[in-house]
Amino acid sequence: MMHYDIVVVGGGPAGMAAAVAAYDAGCTRVVILDREPQPGGILMQCIHNGFGLHKLGRELTGPEYADIYAQEVARRAIPVLTETTVTNITPDRVVTAQSRHGIVKLQAGAVILAMGCRERSRGALRICGTRPAGIYSAGTAQKLINCMGYHVGKRVVILGSGDIGLIMARRMTLEGAKVEAVCEVMPYSGGLTRNLVQCLEDFDIPLYLNTTVAEVHGQKRLEGVTIAQVDGQRRPIPETRRFIPCDTLLLSVGLIPENELTRAAGVPMDPITGGALVDEHCQTQIPGIFACGNVLQVHDLVDYVSEEAERAGAGAAAFVRGSALLNTSINTQPGNGVRYVLPQTITDTTRDVSLFFRVSHPMGKVRCTVRSGADLLTALPRPRVAPGEMERITLSPDLLRRAGDTITIELEELP
């Protein structure tokens, strides 16, 4: 069995940034495993620009952003084993993978999980109707068009107005397709304003809110969809049913962190994020197993993925070197208006700790409060919040020391 300081599972932006950070923190025996023929993860199919604005101060396309990290990996001669699929991880950090050379087993000082997300499928949505060709998840269509050069369809309806759905509306339009509509079951879009403007408004593509695809039609190829408005319980309202002819339906209805390996290793999970429970070093509740990127929480900006991965890399390196990751334990929890808070525990009160959270629905002016019991630690006014945009509050050691064993983040609506 081969021994490594750190084994990184997944070579997307999270895996690469974590490996680089671990190396720079003194762990030189680092390896990255990825099942694809090249590292870069989902970025390799995201040919649009808009990556890196926060972290690198430049607007890059996905492949360009990935290339910057691939170069950093190469400069440190960190090996990347491609076409290598990890099939098992044990709590004592033995990583099993399937590669072209057969099955390999690696003993790791620390494991960093960076497997990313996969898309929710039609099955998970239970849409009525036949099973014709022409129904794709938006990410699959993106890969077919951008990496393989296929045309996937001419008349398109998109279900889901998150960023991936919006990006694909523009992409299909520029490739010559007619995008008839984007339907969103929620009363608001989960996408960035910038994408609403540049992907829909620029091309006069209608966005129907509170609307879903109730039925698909067609035998061999999709011939159309029936859309309908939904009621408060998100059930289609029969009187509002309307047929739209189309040959392609793209589903952009959410991402699921790819945590089968994590669960099999017995890592305790957060049912809301779909990722592991972690501390501020991204360490899970199994010592020596860390998680970062989309496998930990679904990110909308890759910049924050890289930042989170750097914390995981540095944390894993500290674990391997045997420096105790301090063990004071403060739990964090979401209060009114907040869907989740990450990290779920704080172990080190001697440094600044950033808490990341998402709100449960869009609101105008709010005050985000951080409380420990009745003690108001800090508050942050926000002119506008939306679930699509991750919020962050940083707590200083002074505030952390004042906190009891639980910290709650809550929203108060302001007039």
């Binding site: 390799m44 040919i47 649009h48 620009n49 607007e59 890059l60 396309t61 492949p63 360009e64 290339d67 068009i145 951008n146 990496c147 393989m148 050069g149 520029l174 490739e175 010559g176 960035l192 304003t193 910038r194 609403l196 403007v197 540049q198 408004e201 620029d202 002119p383 506008r384 939306a386 945009e389």
Partner: protein, 115 residues
């Protein structure tokens, strides 16, 4: 002329209202000066970066990704795409290579190469 638009410069997403004629535009609704600049640019000379993929003449299963190095006029987006659809490259090409020198005022630069 009156035009409503949403500022995309920061997450606040102010609803902007632009009024006026050819050389005198007034912007309302912006919470900061960047919103005014954005609105005026959008109403006078809106620009967009276009990204696309190109076929590789000597590789059957690979696409090369490109972008306009600087933004091009919004109205020229489809014309840019049409030209790019007619263009192929020959491998090897690498990230940063220039494929065209001037397409609506911008160079076309490779963002993902092919070996």
């Amino acid at each position: 002329m009156t035009r409503e638009l949403t500022c995309i410069i920061c997450p606040k997403g102010c609803r902007l209202c632009v009024e006026g004629g050819d050389n005198r535009l007034t912007v309302r609704g912006n919470a900061c000066p960047r919103g005014e600049q954005y609105a005026i640019a959008e109403c006078t000379n809106p620009l967009r970066t276009v990204t696309a993929v190109l076929r590789v003449s000597n590789r059957c299963d690979t696409m090369v990704c490109v972008k306009t190095e600087s933004p091009v006029p919004k109205a020229a987006m489809f014309a840019v795409m049409e030209r790019l659809h007619q263009t192929t490259v020959t491998a090897p090409v690498s990230i940063g290579d220039i494929v065209m020198d001037d397409l609506f005022g911008s160079r076309i630069v490779v963002t993902k190469g092919a070996i």
